[in-house]
Symmetry: C2
DNA sequence: GAGTCGGCGTAGACAGTGTCTACTGCGTCC
DNA sequence: GGACGCAGTAGACACTGTCTACGCCGACTC
């Protein structure tokens, strides 16, 4: 419990911390309130509903992921292709280390109930990827946003199916880097 | 309520039907029991826990998807590349029309709690895809299971991000076929 | 300085949930 | 005909999200 943070920020932080040891579906409003040291009715002043609190935590996750990515890119400059590889690694690593947050971030049922701004929260990252793709692939066809979209979907799919255990089972791979390499090569062409 | 089916099958069927109009997280054990015309304690004889019933419904979804795919492939024979495209379209269509089922099928928290056989349920489909990829891409490198794995992940990612609404927003596309084409071209090379 | 007010959080109620347990029909055998 | 075992019932329990009425306490006004 930090002194200079309001209850609103504390609830988001505590909820995120609980997600490091608990599944999203077990993350109850009352438990967050207990850990934050307030009564079960207190969150209601800031988050009218359980879903809105969860969505705020998920948004927080997107900003953390975006921060991680931009920090990694700033720390390891290179050609666009190498930067895309860095982005992908950070993405995978985030899903592995902040597993609960990552799962929460892609729960449809949370995202769709009202316009909670979650799609928008993921856009900066996608824009970043689109820019890198445009630099790495100067060809006009297919357009960069299509390539970036499929690449993003591929990265997302690998991350999800890997952490879930299906890809290790199906491909006999021991780590996802072979899949990642294949993905980059497929969408961006062979490395320079 | 069909005459010749036991309660176990009825629960799975009713649960699947409810998913056509309800989100997976709202699919309560008691509601399924009510719709099946039994008391709330009845399912316990066949499914000791709520998760086990949900997992059975998800497994049922995988077999339905596999059935749809194999039927479509049998009805439209062609070269392996065209069959992969058919498989992809059926996959996307399944996610769109049986939305709740599809979401349920990829809920980590259900899959990981114990060995409920859900990963295994998705394997036949993956094997089918791997075979088609091996036929469509005779080159030994990278191995077919790696290509199939990344292709599967890509298909999965496109499906999920599309139904969720992120891809339409990010790519300005009005239907996912452009992304699908780009995916096939990226992983399998240009069409013959 | 006393009094009022409004924002912030408390506390209790309510319907609904998943799970557990004791029980009741009821068909099937010996 | 009676014992048995299976399938489903019914009630209890702790817990959940939401709603409502209620206090506290600092700030602002006259």
């Amino acid at each position: 419990m930090r002194a200079d943070e309001g209850l609103r920020e504390r609830l988001i932080r505590v909820g995120g911390e609980l997600l490091d040891h608990e599944e999203p579906s077990r993350l109850s409003l009352r438990e967050i309130a207990r850990r934050a040291g307030v009564s079960h009715g207190a969150p209601r002043r800031y988050f009218p509903t359980h879903l809105e609190l969860l969505s705020a935590i998920a948004r927080d996750g997107f900003t953390e992921l975006t921060t991680r990515v931009t920090a990694a890119l700033a720390g390891a400059p290179g050609d666009p292709r190498a930067q895309i590889a860095t982005l992908a690694r950070v993405y995978l690593d985030f899903a592995a280390t902040r597993r609960g947050r990552y799962e929460l971030m892609l729960r449809h049922d949370l995202l769709e109930s009202g316009h909670l701004g979650l799609r928008d929260a993921s856009l900066p990252l996608f824009r970043l990827l689109t820019d890198l793709v445009a630099q790495a692939r100067p060809e006009p066809e297919p357009p960069a946003r299509i390539v970036a979209g499929t690449l993003w979907a591929n990265l997302h799919g690998i991350t999800q199916l890997w952490t879930w255990g299906s890809l290790p089972l199906a491909t006999d791979a021991t780590d996802p880097s072979a899949l990642l390499d294949a993905t980059l090569k497929a969408h961006l062409g062979p490395a320079a």
